[in-house]
């Protein structure tokens, strides 16, 4: 391996390290000014070296480009690394869920009326996670969709039925009652 090849390898490694996306050959050519043969050769060397040296990562060809990737056997460690950031529910989604839980069935417009802000993204998240479901349409102009909580909702919160939800204090007037 000559010095030129060593430099090419180093530059490619530096670029792969700083890229969160796969780097295409054309991007690498444009950035480095090297010819494709030179780049492909260096990538090949690097891939070989990593195997020989028993590195904890490899260079993968994916989606028309190259990127660093880890091995499946290390997934449990990486999971522990990201676990604290695995979102549970954002405060906004929790608020919307609480409104649906206590006021179901309820339309989007009614939720927004209560919160004073749009609830669309929270409603979508809750639908995706199967915590709420569409439970029909309201008999009102526009026939808006009604939302209710799911069986999974009860399961995750350890409730037998909706009656098990902590009771609201007497002062906490029920919005949907006085119509």
């Amino acid at each position: 391996m000559n010095l030129y090849q060593q430099e090419t390898k180093e530059i490619l490694e530096a670029l792969l390290l700083c890229s969160a996306e796969p780097l295409t050959l054309s991007a690498l050519i444009e950035i480095t000014g090297y010819e494709s043969g030179q780049i492909l050769e260096a990538l090949g060397y690097l891939q070989q070296e990593y195997v020989q040296q028993g590195r904890g990562f490899e260079i993968c060809e994916i989606a028309g480009g190259w990127m660093f990737a880890t091995f499946p056997k290390h997934a449990p460690y990486i999971e522990k690394l990201v676990k604290p950031r695995l979102s549970t529910l954002t405060p906004a989604s929790l608020e919307v869920l609480s409104i649906i839980a206590y006021r179901q069935p309820i339309t989007r417009a009614e939720m927004e009326e209560i919160r004073g802000v749009s609830c669309d993204s929270s409603v979508n998240t809750l639908l995706e996670r199967n915590l709420i479901r569409e439970s029909g349409r309201k008999d009102a102009p526009g026939r808006p969709i009604l939302f209710s909580t799911t069986t999974d909702f009860l399961k995750y919160f350890g409730l037998t039925s909706l009656q098990d939800l902590p009771a609201l204090e007497p002062g906490e007037a029920s919005p949907s009652d006085n119509k």
Binding site: L89, P141, G142
Partner: protein, 258 residues
């Protein structure tokens, strides 16, 4: 003859004083106060001439310098210390401030060097979204309990009360189509046109006003209505367009005074 005054800019009065001390090679522990006050005032004067906007702090310092200068003319004041009697120097406080400020100013230059060398180093980038998507949370609610729902809902109610909102859910907002229909009905009943404000009057919420307005725009776009304003900022009238096929202008505006 015109010439340009190139005046250095300083971070503050202390910065200016340090500059004067440095350029005139003065002893910071024994500042010739009359001299430096003169130099300082000269700078302020030049700054004023070229309209350089100095903060009020520069004037406060000018006052301080003049006060020290005056005190220097008075007989020395003495202060008793453990070792005996010591002369009080009116410049002491200023010197102390200058020394302290100089420490941080010099350190800022060190930080600048570190910043410069650090801008050439890059760190690992990770596509967080993709990484997190590989590990879907087994339980979508994490550690939340039913009590958290309760707390969240109470908070919602509290905020509602704070917004001064009565806790009522009125009837559902009408759709765009319904607003359009309602608007056409109203206009049909009033041949000569309806005031724009009256059209929106039945709306009960901001959302409804917005929808009604969108409905009006939609009707205009379709050529089913036209609007007329007789004077700038005057009343806007909305009328049914009885000759849509003629492509009558949807907007008719007459300038003020007409």
């Amino acid at each position: 003859m015109s010439y340009q005054v190139v005046l250095p800019v300083f971070e503050g009065p202390l910065d200016l004083l340090l500059h004067l001390i440095d350029t005139h090679k003065l002893d910071i522990y024994n500042i010739p106060i009359a001299f430096i006050t003169g130099q300082y005032m000269d700078y302020l004067k030049q700054a004023e001439e070229i309209d350089l906007n100095l903060s009020g702090d520069f004037l406060v310092m000018a006052g301080t310098l003049l006060a020290i200068k005056a005190k220097m003319l008075l007989p020395k004041r003495l202060q008793e210390t453990e070792e005996g009697v010591e002369e009080l120097d009116p410049r002491d406080e200023l010197v102390e401030k200058l020394l302290e400020y100089r420490l941080y100013k010099e350190n800022a230059q060190e930080l600048k060097k570190m910043e410069t060398s650090q801008t050439r180093i890059y760190y690992r980038e990770v596509d967080d979204k993709r990484l997190l998507a590989l590990f879907p949370p087994p339980n979508p609610i994490g550690n939340l309990k039913a009590a958290d729902l309760h707390t969240a809902f109470q908070e919602v109610l509290r905020l509602m009360a704070a917004r001064g909102q009565t806790i009522t859910l009125h009837k559902d907002t009408m759709s765009l189509k319904e607003h359009m229909d309602l608007m056409m009905d109203t206009l049909a009943r009033h041949g000569g046109g309806v005031k724009f404000a009256d059209l929106l009057e039945p709306c009960q919420s901001v959302m409804e006003v917005v929808t009604a307005f969108l409905a009006l725009l939609e009707l205009l776009a379709k050529g089913r209505v036209w609007v007329r304003q007789t004077s700038l900022f005057g009343e806007i009238f909305v009328c049914i367009n009885n000759f849509p096929e003629k492509g009558e202008p949807a907007f008719e505006s007459v300038s003020a005074g007409d």
